[in-house]
Protein backbone atom coordinates (compact mmCIF):
# COMPACT_ATOMS: atom_id res chain seq x y z
CA UNK A 1 0.00 0.00 0.00
CA UNK A 2 1.33 3.42 -0.92
CA UNK A 3 2.42 5.52 2.04
CA UNK A 4 0.46 8.75 2.44
CA UNK A 5 0.85 11.60 4.92
CA UNK A 6 -1.14 10.88 8.09
CA UNK A 7 -1.91 14.58 8.48
CA UNK A 8 -2.84 15.95 5.04
CA UNK A 9 -3.21 12.58 3.27
CA UNK A 10 -0.97 13.72 0.41
CA UNK A 11 0.93 10.96 -1.42
CA UNK A 12 3.93 13.32 -1.75
CA UNK A 13 6.06 11.79 0.99
CA UNK A 14 9.78 11.07 1.15
CA UNK A 15 11.69 8.58 3.28
CA UNK A 16 14.21 10.39 5.47
CA UNK A 17 15.81 7.52 7.34
CA UNK A 18 15.48 3.84 8.21
CA UNK A 19 16.24 2.51 11.69
CA UNK A 20 18.16 -0.76 11.68
CA UNK A 21 18.17 -3.63 14.16
CA UNK A 22 20.22 -6.78 13.54
CA UNK A 23 20.63 -5.87 9.88
CA UNK A 24 16.86 -5.49 9.37
CA UNK A 25 14.84 -2.32 8.89
CA UNK A 26 12.90 -1.74 12.13
CA UNK A 27 11.16 1.51 11.17
CA UNK A 28 11.23 4.27 8.58
CA UNK A 29 10.97 8.04 9.06
CA UNK A 30 8.85 9.88 6.47
CA UNK A 31 8.41 13.55 5.66
CA UNK A 32 5.53 15.15 3.74
CA UNK A 33 6.61 17.71 1.17
CA UNK A 34 3.18 19.37 1.24
CA UNK A 35 2.40 19.92 4.94
CA UNK A 36 5.90 19.15 6.35
CA UNK A 37 4.60 16.49 8.76
CA UNK A 38 7.29 14.04 9.90
CA UNK A 39 6.58 10.63 11.39
CA UNK A 40 8.04 7.24 12.12
CA UNK A 41 5.99 4.26 11.00
CA UNK A 42 6.50 2.55 14.39
CA UNK A 43 4.69 5.31 16.30
CA UNK A 44 1.37 4.82 18.14
CA UNK A 45 -1.76 5.30 16.00
CA UNK A 46 -2.63 8.61 17.71
CA UNK A 47 0.30 10.17 15.82
CA UNK A 48 0.28 8.32 12.49
CA UNK A 49 -3.22 6.99 11.70
CA UNK A 50 -5.51 9.58 10.05
CA UNK A 51 -8.52 7.67 11.39
CA UNK A 52 -7.29 7.92 14.97
CA UNK A 53 -5.58 11.32 14.98
CA UNK A 54 -7.73 14.15 16.43
CA UNK A 55 -9.71 16.12 13.85
CA UNK A 56 -8.14 19.43 14.90
CA UNK A 57 -4.68 18.10 14.03
CA UNK A 58 -5.59 17.12 10.45
CA UNK A 59 -4.69 19.33 7.50
CA UNK A 60 -6.47 17.70 4.58
CA UNK A 61 -7.81 20.53 2.42
CA UNK A 62 -6.07 23.30 4.39
CA UNK A 63 -4.66 26.07 2.20
CA UNK A 64 -0.95 26.03 3.09
CA UNK A 65 -0.40 29.48 1.55
CA UNK A 66 -2.91 31.04 3.95
CA UNK A 67 -1.15 29.89 7.14
CA UNK A 68 -0.10 32.63 9.55
CA UNK A 69 3.46 33.98 9.24
CA UNK A 70 5.34 34.44 12.52
CA UNK A 71 7.97 36.64 10.86
CA UNK A 72 6.68 37.83 7.49
CA UNK A 73 9.35 37.67 4.76
CA UNK A 74 10.78 41.03 3.69
CA UNK A 75 10.62 40.09 0.02
CA UNK A 76 9.23 37.35 -2.17
CA UNK A 77 11.65 34.43 -2.16
CA UNK A 78 13.81 34.24 -5.27
Amino acid sequence: MKTICPRCESPGVTQMHAGMENGQILWRVWHCKDCAYTWRDSEPAESIDPKVRPAWAQMKGVDIDSLRQVIPPARKPT
Binding site: C35, A36, M59, P73, A74
Partner: protein, 493 residues
Protein backbone atom coordinates in the same frame (compact mmCIF):
# COMPACT_ATOMS: atom_id res chain seq x y z
CA UNK B 1 27.99 45.91 28.21
CA UNK B 2 29.92 43.49 30.38
CA UNK B 3 30.79 44.81 33.85
CA UNK B 4 33.56 44.00 36.32
CA UNK B 5 31.04 42.37 38.65
CA UNK B 6 32.15 38.99 39.93
CA UNK B 7 30.56 36.43 42.21
CA UNK B 8 32.03 35.05 45.41
CA UNK B 9 31.27 31.39 45.79
CA UNK B 10 31.38 28.88 48.62
CA UNK B 11 34.18 26.30 48.55
CA UNK B 12 31.63 23.66 47.44
CA UNK B 13 30.36 25.84 44.60
CA UNK B 14 33.93 26.54 43.48
CA UNK B 15 34.69 22.83 43.49
CA UNK B 16 31.64 22.06 41.32
CA UNK B 17 32.47 24.93 38.97
CA UNK B 18 36.03 23.62 38.58
CA UNK B 19 34.87 20.05 38.08
CA UNK B 20 31.99 20.57 35.64
CA UNK B 21 33.11 21.77 32.23
CA UNK B 22 30.62 20.00 30.02
CA UNK B 23 27.37 18.04 29.93
CA UNK B 24 29.34 14.80 30.37
CA UNK B 25 31.04 16.08 33.50
CA UNK B 26 27.70 17.14 34.92
CA UNK B 27 26.02 13.80 34.20
CA UNK B 28 28.91 12.06 36.00
CA UNK B 29 28.58 14.43 38.92
CA UNK B 30 24.80 13.91 39.08
CA UNK B 31 25.34 10.15 38.95
CA UNK B 32 27.62 10.28 41.99
CA UNK B 33 24.73 11.93 43.87
CA UNK B 34 22.13 9.42 42.64
CA UNK B 35 20.70 12.09 40.34
CA UNK B 36 21.41 10.47 36.97
CA UNK B 37 20.33 7.03 35.78
CA UNK B 38 20.89 5.10 32.58
CA UNK B 39 17.67 3.44 31.44
CA UNK B 40 18.48 -0.28 31.42
CA UNK B 41 15.93 -1.55 28.87
CA UNK B 42 15.71 -1.33 25.09
CA UNK B 43 13.09 1.26 24.14
CA UNK B 44 11.35 2.59 21.04
CA UNK B 45 11.78 6.32 20.36
CA UNK B 46 7.99 6.80 20.68
CA UNK B 47 6.26 6.75 23.05
CA UNK B 48 8.95 5.49 25.44
CA UNK B 49 11.27 8.51 25.61
CA UNK B 50 8.25 10.78 26.15
CA UNK B 51 6.78 8.63 28.90
CA UNK B 52 10.01 8.08 30.81
CA UNK B 53 10.86 11.81 30.54
CA UNK B 54 7.49 12.71 32.06
CA UNK B 55 7.95 10.19 34.86
CA UNK B 56 11.42 11.58 35.67
CA UNK B 57 10.10 15.15 35.70
CA UNK B 58 7.14 14.34 37.95
CA UNK B 59 9.48 14.31 40.94
CA UNK B 60 10.20 18.04 41.00
CA UNK B 61 12.44 17.78 44.06
CA UNK B 62 14.87 15.04 43.14
CA UNK B 63 13.87 13.52 39.80
CA UNK B 64 17.00 12.23 38.02
CA UNK B 65 18.52 12.99 34.65
CA UNK B 66 17.96 9.97 32.40
CA UNK B 67 20.31 8.65 29.73
CA UNK B 68 19.00 6.33 27.01
CA UNK B 69 21.60 4.24 25.21
CA UNK B 70 19.45 1.34 23.98
CA UNK B 71 17.13 3.09 21.53
CA UNK B 72 15.81 0.57 19.03
CA UNK B 73 16.75 1.50 15.47
CA UNK B 74 19.42 3.92 16.66
CA UNK B 75 22.22 1.57 17.70
CA UNK B 76 25.07 3.34 19.50
CA UNK B 77 23.15 6.63 19.82
CA UNK B 78 22.43 8.33 23.13
CA UNK B 79 19.73 10.70 24.43
CA UNK B 80 19.75 12.55 27.78
CA UNK B 81 16.62 14.14 29.28
CA UNK B 82 15.61 15.86 32.51
CA UNK B 83 19.15 17.13 33.17
CA UNK B 84 17.67 20.35 34.65
CA UNK B 85 14.41 18.63 35.54
CA UNK B 86 14.55 18.82 39.33
CA UNK B 87 15.56 21.39 41.90
CA UNK B 88 17.92 18.76 43.31
CA UNK B 89 19.89 18.81 40.07
CA UNK B 90 19.99 22.61 40.01
CA UNK B 91 21.14 22.66 43.64
CA UNK B 92 24.03 20.31 42.82
CA UNK B 93 25.05 22.56 39.92
CA UNK B 94 25.16 25.52 42.32
CA UNK B 95 27.32 23.54 44.78
CA UNK B 96 24.53 22.98 47.30
CA UNK B 97 22.86 19.94 48.85
CA UNK B 98 20.30 18.31 46.57
CA UNK B 99 17.61 18.80 49.22
CA UNK B 100 18.16 22.57 49.45
CA UNK B 101 14.75 24.32 49.66
CA UNK B 102 13.72 26.21 46.50
CA UNK B 103 13.65 29.46 48.46
CA UNK B 104 17.38 29.09 49.23
CA UNK B 105 18.15 28.31 45.59
CA UNK B 106 16.30 31.49 44.65
CA UNK B 107 18.43 33.57 47.01
CA UNK B 108 21.61 31.91 45.74
CA UNK B 109 20.67 32.91 42.18
CA UNK B 110 19.88 36.42 43.43
CA UNK B 111 23.27 36.59 45.13
CA UNK B 112 24.96 35.73 41.83
CA UNK B 113 22.61 37.87 39.72
CA UNK B 114 24.00 40.78 37.70
CA UNK B 115 27.58 39.49 37.63
CA UNK B 116 28.82 39.27 34.09
CA UNK B 117 32.58 39.86 33.97
CA UNK B 118 33.46 37.40 31.20
CA UNK B 119 35.41 34.31 32.25
CA UNK B 120 36.15 32.86 28.85
CA UNK B 121 38.99 30.68 27.58
CA UNK B 122 39.80 30.27 23.91
CA UNK B 123 40.46 26.81 22.50
CA UNK B 124 41.94 26.32 19.03
CA UNK B 125 39.32 24.69 16.77
CA UNK B 126 41.57 21.69 16.05
CA UNK B 127 41.87 21.04 19.80
CA UNK B 128 38.16 21.39 20.60
CA UNK B 129 36.41 18.10 21.45
CA UNK B 130 33.34 19.23 19.48
CA UNK B 131 35.47 18.98 16.33
CA UNK B 132 36.42 15.33 16.84
CA UNK B 133 34.06 14.56 13.92
CA UNK B 134 32.79 16.75 11.11
CA UNK B 135 30.15 16.05 8.48
CA UNK B 136 29.81 18.50 5.60
CA UNK B 137 28.51 16.28 2.80
CA UNK B 138 25.33 14.20 2.54
CA UNK B 139 24.13 15.63 5.81
CA UNK B 140 21.13 13.79 7.27
CA UNK B 141 20.02 15.01 10.68
CA UNK B 142 17.71 11.98 11.04
CA UNK B 143 20.79 9.79 10.83
CA UNK B 144 23.11 11.92 12.98
CA UNK B 145 20.66 12.44 15.86
CA UNK B 146 18.27 9.96 17.53
CA UNK B 147 15.32 12.29 16.86
CA UNK B 148 11.86 11.55 18.27
CA UNK B 149 8.44 13.12 18.72
CA UNK B 150 8.16 14.92 22.06
CA UNK B 151 4.33 15.14 22.27
CA UNK B 152 1.93 12.93 20.33
CA UNK B 153 0.48 15.72 18.17
CA UNK B 154 3.67 17.65 17.46
CA UNK B 155 4.11 18.32 13.75
CA UNK B 156 7.46 16.55 13.69
CA UNK B 157 10.66 15.85 15.60
CA UNK B 158 11.92 18.75 17.65
CA UNK B 159 15.26 19.78 19.07
CA UNK B 160 13.95 21.51 22.17
CA UNK B 161 16.93 22.43 24.33
CA UNK B 162 19.65 23.55 21.93
CA UNK B 163 21.43 26.85 22.54
CA UNK B 164 21.55 28.73 19.26
CA UNK B 165 24.39 31.19 18.63
CA UNK B 166 24.04 33.90 16.02
CA UNK B 167 25.87 37.08 15.12
CA UNK B 168 24.17 40.40 14.39
CA UNK B 169 23.86 40.39 10.56
CA UNK B 170 24.81 44.07 10.36
CA UNK B 171 27.60 43.94 12.97
CA UNK B 172 28.99 40.42 12.68
CA UNK B 173 32.18 41.37 14.57
CA UNK B 174 30.40 42.61 17.70
CA UNK B 175 30.85 39.94 20.43
CA UNK B 176 28.24 41.47 22.76
CA UNK B 177 25.59 41.49 20.04
CA UNK B 178 26.19 37.82 19.40
CA UNK B 179 23.09 36.15 20.73
CA UNK B 180 22.68 32.80 22.48
CA UNK B 181 19.11 31.64 22.94
CA UNK B 182 16.92 28.55 23.14
CA UNK B 183 14.40 28.35 20.32
CA UNK B 184 12.30 25.44 19.22
CA UNK B 185 13.76 23.74 16.17
CA UNK B 186 11.78 21.37 13.95
CA UNK B 187 13.86 19.15 11.71
CA UNK B 188 12.46 19.23 8.17
CA UNK B 189 14.38 17.78 5.22
CA UNK B 190 17.52 15.78 5.92
CA UNK B 191 19.55 19.02 6.01
CA UNK B 192 16.97 21.72 6.76
CA UNK B 193 15.19 22.92 9.87
CA UNK B 194 12.85 25.67 10.98
CA UNK B 195 13.64 27.85 13.96
CA UNK B 196 10.77 29.66 15.66
CA UNK B 197 11.36 33.11 17.07
CA UNK B 198 9.21 36.23 17.32
CA UNK B 199 10.18 39.81 16.43
CA UNK B 200 10.44 40.69 20.15
CA UNK B 201 13.23 38.15 20.72
CA UNK B 202 16.87 38.74 19.78
CA UNK B 203 16.86 35.99 17.15
CA UNK B 204 13.65 37.29 15.56
CA UNK B 205 15.22 40.73 15.41
CA UNK B 206 18.26 39.31 13.62
CA UNK B 207 16.09 37.40 11.13
CA UNK B 208 14.17 40.58 10.29
CA UNK B 209 17.44 42.52 9.88
CA UNK B 210 18.99 39.87 7.65
CA UNK B 211 16.01 39.72 5.31
CA UNK B 212 15.49 43.49 5.24
CA UNK B 213 19.13 44.12 4.27
CA UNK B 214 19.72 40.95 2.25
CA UNK B 215 22.56 39.90 4.60
CA UNK B 216 23.41 36.33 5.56
CA UNK B 217 22.38 35.07 9.01
CA UNK B 218 24.57 32.19 10.13
CA UNK B 219 23.76 30.21 13.24
CA UNK B 220 25.34 27.46 15.32
CA UNK B 221 22.91 25.12 17.05
CA UNK B 222 24.72 23.76 20.13
CA UNK B 223 23.26 20.51 21.46
CA UNK B 224 24.32 19.00 24.80
CA UNK B 225 25.98 21.88 26.59
CA UNK B 226 27.65 22.93 29.78
CA UNK B 227 24.68 22.93 32.21
CA UNK B 228 25.03 26.67 32.93
CA UNK B 229 24.45 27.48 29.26
CA UNK B 230 20.77 26.49 28.89
CA UNK B 231 20.02 28.10 32.25
CA UNK B 232 21.36 31.45 31.14
CA UNK B 233 20.64 31.21 27.42
CA UNK B 234 17.00 31.18 28.52
CA UNK B 235 17.53 34.31 30.63
CA UNK B 236 16.59 37.65 29.13
CA UNK B 237 19.76 39.78 29.11
CA UNK B 238 20.15 43.04 27.16
CA UNK B 239 20.60 42.82 23.39
CA UNK B 240 24.26 43.89 23.63
CA UNK B 241 25.04 41.66 26.63
CA UNK B 242 26.73 38.30 26.14
CA UNK B 243 25.03 35.18 27.45
CA UNK B 244 28.45 33.47 27.42
CA UNK B 245 29.82 36.13 29.77
CA UNK B 246 26.80 35.86 32.02
CA UNK B 247 26.82 32.06 32.19
CA UNK B 248 30.55 31.93 32.94
CA UNK B 249 30.43 34.46 35.75
CA UNK B 250 27.26 33.00 37.27
CA UNK B 251 29.04 29.63 37.44
CA UNK B 252 32.24 31.25 38.64
CA UNK B 253 34.38 29.19 36.24
CA UNK B 254 35.64 29.80 32.72
CA UNK B 255 33.66 28.55 29.76
CA UNK B 256 35.83 27.17 26.96
CA UNK B 257 34.98 28.75 23.63
CA UNK B 258 36.13 27.92 20.15
CA UNK B 259 35.23 29.26 16.74
CA UNK B 260 32.79 27.49 14.44
CA UNK B 261 33.45 27.25 10.70
CA UNK B 262 30.91 30.04 10.17
CA UNK B 263 32.69 32.38 12.59
CA UNK B 264 30.31 32.17 15.55
CA UNK B 265 31.66 31.38 19.00
CA UNK B 266 30.66 27.97 20.31
CA UNK B 267 31.38 25.95 23.43
CA UNK B 268 34.44 23.79 22.76
CA UNK B 269 33.08 20.89 24.82
CA UNK B 270 29.54 20.84 23.48
CA UNK B 271 28.29 17.48 22.22
CA UNK B 272 27.20 18.56 18.74
CA UNK B 273 27.02 21.76 16.72
CA UNK B 274 24.80 22.09 13.68
CA UNK B 275 25.85 25.06 11.59
CA UNK B 276 23.15 26.55 9.41
CA UNK B 277 22.24 29.55 7.32
CA UNK B 278 18.90 31.34 7.07
CA UNK B 279 17.29 30.81 3.67
CA UNK B 280 16.32 34.43 3.08
CA UNK B 281 12.54 34.91 2.77
CA UNK B 282 11.85 31.17 2.57
CA UNK B 283 9.30 29.69 4.94
CA UNK B 284 8.21 26.18 5.84
CA UNK B 285 5.11 24.81 7.56
CA UNK B 286 5.92 24.39 11.27
CA UNK B 287 4.03 22.97 14.25
CA UNK B 288 1.97 22.20 16.13
CA UNK B 289 4.24 21.93 19.14
CA UNK B 290 3.21 21.17 22.73
CA UNK B 291 4.33 24.39 24.39
CA UNK B 292 4.99 25.44 27.98
CA UNK B 293 1.41 26.55 28.76
CA UNK B 294 0.47 22.89 28.23
CA UNK B 295 -1.30 23.39 24.91
CA UNK B 296 -0.30 22.99 21.29
CA UNK B 297 0.68 26.09 19.38
CA UNK B 298 -0.82 26.23 15.88
CA UNK B 299 0.59 25.45 12.47
CA UNK B 300 2.41 28.43 10.99
CA UNK B 301 4.96 29.39 8.38
CA UNK B 302 8.37 29.82 9.94
CA UNK B 303 11.86 30.80 8.66
CA UNK B 304 13.88 27.96 7.19
CA UNK B 305 17.59 27.20 7.67
CA UNK B 306 19.89 24.97 5.63
CA UNK B 307 22.61 23.00 7.41
CA UNK B 308 26.15 23.73 6.18
CA UNK B 309 28.06 21.36 8.48
CA UNK B 310 27.74 19.27 11.63
CA UNK B 311 30.53 18.81 14.18
CA UNK B 312 30.30 16.41 17.07
CA UNK B 313 32.23 14.68 19.81
CA UNK B 314 32.82 10.96 19.69
CA UNK B 315 29.70 9.10 20.80
CA UNK B 316 27.69 12.34 21.20
CA UNK B 317 24.77 12.76 23.60
CA UNK B 318 21.56 14.28 22.22
CA UNK B 319 20.31 16.33 25.18
CA UNK B 320 16.62 17.14 24.85
CA UNK B 321 13.75 18.31 27.03
CA UNK B 322 10.20 17.23 27.78
CA UNK B 323 7.89 20.23 27.55
CA UNK B 324 4.10 20.34 27.68
CA UNK B 325 1.48 20.37 30.41
CA UNK B 326 3.35 21.27 33.60
CA UNK B 327 5.22 20.46 35.67
CA UNK B 328 8.03 19.82 33.16
CA UNK B 329 11.77 20.30 32.88
CA UNK B 330 11.05 23.60 31.14
CA UNK B 331 9.59 24.97 34.39
CA UNK B 332 12.61 23.95 36.46
CA UNK B 333 15.12 25.06 33.85
CA UNK B 334 13.94 28.65 33.60
CA UNK B 335 11.82 29.19 36.71
CA UNK B 336 14.45 30.67 39.01
CA UNK B 337 15.95 32.74 36.22
CA UNK B 338 12.50 34.09 35.43
CA UNK B 339 11.91 35.00 39.08
CA UNK B 340 15.29 36.64 39.70
CA UNK B 341 15.11 39.63 37.31
CA UNK B 342 11.55 40.48 38.41
CA UNK B 343 12.76 40.48 42.01
CA UNK B 344 15.84 42.59 41.18
CA UNK B 345 13.77 45.13 39.26
CA UNK B 346 11.12 45.43 42.01
CA UNK B 347 13.69 45.59 44.78
CA UNK B 348 15.23 48.75 43.28
CA UNK B 349 12.07 50.75 43.88
CA UNK B 350 10.48 48.74 46.69
CA UNK B 351 12.95 47.33 49.22
CA UNK B 352 9.95 45.86 51.05
CA UNK B 353 9.78 43.06 48.45
CA UNK B 354 11.02 39.89 50.14
CA UNK B 355 10.92 37.26 47.35
CA UNK B 356 9.33 36.52 43.98
CA UNK B 357 8.16 33.12 42.83
CA UNK B 358 7.45 33.19 39.08
CA UNK B 359 8.16 29.48 38.56
CA UNK B 360 4.82 28.64 37.03
CA UNK B 361 4.67 28.43 33.22
CA UNK B 362 7.37 31.03 32.69
CA UNK B 363 5.65 33.39 35.12
CA UNK B 364 2.06 33.21 33.86
CA UNK B 365 1.38 33.03 37.58
CA UNK B 366 3.63 34.91 39.98
CA UNK B 367 3.65 35.18 43.75
CA UNK B 368 5.30 38.21 45.36
CA UNK B 369 5.92 38.47 49.07
CA UNK B 370 6.11 42.03 50.30
CA UNK B 371 5.81 43.99 53.53
CA UNK B 372 2.98 46.46 53.28
CA UNK B 373 4.40 49.94 53.87
CA UNK B 374 0.86 51.24 54.14
CA UNK B 375 -2.61 50.00 53.39
CA UNK B 376 -3.00 48.93 49.75
CA UNK B 377 0.77 49.13 49.11
CA UNK B 378 0.99 45.56 47.75
CA UNK B 379 -1.33 46.53 44.90
CA UNK B 380 1.10 49.26 43.82
CA UNK B 381 3.91 46.71 43.87
CA UNK B 382 1.79 44.45 41.66
CA UNK B 383 1.31 47.29 39.17
CA UNK B 384 5.06 47.85 39.09
CA UNK B 385 5.61 44.12 38.47
CA UNK B 386 3.30 44.32 35.45
CA UNK B 387 5.58 47.04 34.09
CA UNK B 388 8.80 45.01 34.31
CA UNK B 389 10.12 43.69 30.98
CA UNK B 390 8.97 40.14 31.71
CA UNK B 391 5.80 41.24 33.45
CA UNK B 392 4.63 43.20 30.43
CA UNK B 393 3.91 40.01 28.53
CA UNK B 394 3.93 37.14 31.01
CA UNK B 395 2.77 37.99 34.54
CA UNK B 396 -0.91 37.23 34.06
CA UNK B 397 -1.99 36.16 37.56
CA UNK B 398 -0.27 37.89 40.46
CA UNK B 399 -0.71 36.89 44.08
CA UNK B 400 0.64 39.22 46.75
CA UNK B 401 1.45 37.76 50.16
CA UNK B 402 3.03 39.14 53.33
CA UNK B 403 6.79 39.29 53.72
CA UNK B 404 6.69 36.45 56.26
CA UNK B 405 4.84 34.12 53.87
CA UNK B 406 7.23 32.03 51.79
CA UNK B 407 6.01 32.37 48.19
CA UNK B 408 7.78 29.10 47.33
CA UNK B 409 5.71 27.19 49.93
CA UNK B 410 2.28 26.81 48.36
CA UNK B 411 0.75 25.70 51.68
CA UNK B 412 1.68 29.09 53.10
CA UNK B 413 0.36 30.85 49.99
CA UNK B 414 -2.93 29.01 50.36
CA UNK B 415 -3.09 30.14 54.00
CA UNK B 416 -2.77 33.72 52.78
CA UNK B 417 -5.45 33.21 50.14
CA UNK B 418 -7.76 31.59 52.69
CA UNK B 419 -7.42 34.15 55.44
CA UNK B 420 -6.08 37.39 53.97
CA UNK B 421 -8.10 37.82 50.81
CA UNK B 422 -11.29 39.80 50.58
CA UNK B 423 -13.29 39.63 47.37
CA UNK B 424 -12.75 43.34 46.82
CA UNK B 425 -8.98 42.80 47.01
CA UNK B 426 -9.11 41.20 43.59
CA UNK B 427 -8.39 43.36 40.56
CA UNK B 428 -8.97 42.41 36.93
CA UNK B 429 -7.26 44.56 34.32
CA UNK B 430 -8.88 43.90 30.96
CA UNK B 431 -7.35 43.84 27.48
CA UNK B 432 -3.70 43.72 28.39
CA UNK B 433 -0.83 42.34 26.30
CA UNK B 434 -0.39 38.58 26.67
CA UNK B 435 1.87 35.84 25.44
CA UNK B 436 0.40 34.78 22.08
CA UNK B 437 0.51 31.09 23.00
CA UNK B 438 -1.41 31.53 26.27
CA UNK B 439 -4.56 29.48 25.66
CA UNK B 440 -6.51 31.71 28.09
CA UNK B 441 -6.11 34.79 25.87
CA UNK B 442 -9.21 36.54 24.53
CA UNK B 443 -7.43 36.72 21.20
CA UNK B 444 -3.84 35.55 20.74
CA UNK B 445 -1.64 38.25 22.26
CA UNK B 446 -4.34 40.02 24.28
CA UNK B 447 -6.24 39.19 27.46
CA UNK B 448 -6.88 40.04 31.09
CA UNK B 449 -4.63 40.29 34.11
CA UNK B 450 -5.55 39.26 37.64
CA UNK B 451 -4.14 40.67 40.87
CA UNK B 452 -5.04 39.03 44.16
CA UNK B 453 -3.92 40.99 47.18
CA UNK B 454 -3.55 38.38 49.92
CA UNK B 455 -1.48 40.55 52.25
CA UNK B 456 -2.55 41.51 55.76
CA UNK B 457 -4.78 44.45 56.47
CA UNK B 458 -3.49 47.74 57.81
CA UNK B 459 -5.29 50.83 59.00
CA UNK B 460 -7.31 52.49 57.59
CA UNK B 461 -8.55 49.05 56.43
CA UNK B 462 -11.23 47.36 58.45
CA UNK B 463 -8.92 45.08 60.44
CA UNK B 464 -11.59 42.49 61.18
CA UNK B 465 -12.82 41.10 64.47
CA UNK B 466 -9.54 39.57 65.63
CA UNK B 467 -6.53 40.96 63.80
CA UNK B 468 -3.82 39.37 65.97
CA UNK B 469 -1.97 36.82 63.86
CA UNK B 470 -0.01 33.95 65.34
CA UNK B 471 3.70 34.53 65.01
CA UNK B 472 4.66 31.20 63.49
CA UNK B 473 8.25 30.16 64.29
CA UNK B 474 10.27 30.19 61.07
CA UNK B 475 13.75 30.82 59.71
CA UNK B 476 17.13 29.09 60.00
CA UNK B 477 16.41 27.67 63.45
CA UNK B 478 13.29 25.85 62.23
CA UNK B 479 15.10 24.77 59.05
CA UNK B 480 17.86 23.24 61.20
CA UNK B 481 15.29 21.43 63.33
CA UNK B 482 13.63 20.02 60.21
CA UNK B 483 17.02 18.81 59.02
CA UNK B 484 17.64 17.17 62.39
CA UNK B 485 14.26 15.41 62.26
CA UNK B 486 15.07 14.24 58.76
CA UNK B 487 18.33 12.70 60.00
CA UNK B 488 16.56 11.09 62.95
CA UNK B 489 14.04 9.55 60.54
CA UNK B 490 16.93 8.03 58.60
CA UNK B 491 18.25 6.48 61.81
CA UNK B 492 20.84 9.12 62.64
CA UNK B 493 21.50 10.49 66.10
Amino acid sequence: MATEKTVSLSAEARAVAARVGSLRDFLDYLGEHEQCVTWPDAILPEPDIRNISVAAGNNVSTGPAVIFDKIRGYPGKRVAVNVHGSFGNLALLLGMSKTTPVRELFFEIIRRWGSDKPLLERVAPEKAPVNENRVDKNINLYDLLPLYRINANDGGFYIGKACVVSRDPLEPDNFGKQNVGIYRIQVMGPDTFTLLSIPAHDMGRQMLMAEQHGKPLKVSVMIGNHPAMPMFAATPVGYDESEFAYASQMMGAPLRLTTAVNGTDILADTEMVIEGELQLNQREVEGPFGEFPGSYSGVRKVPLFRVTSVSHRNNPIFENIYIGKGWTEHDTLIGLNTSAPIYAQLKKDFPEVAAVNALYQHGLTGIISVKNRFSGFAKSVAMRALGTPHGTMYLKNLILVDENVDPFDLNQVMWALSTRTRANDIIVIPNMPMVPIDPAAEVPGKGHRLIIDATSFMAPDNLGADPHLVDRPMGPEIDALMQRLNELQKGGA
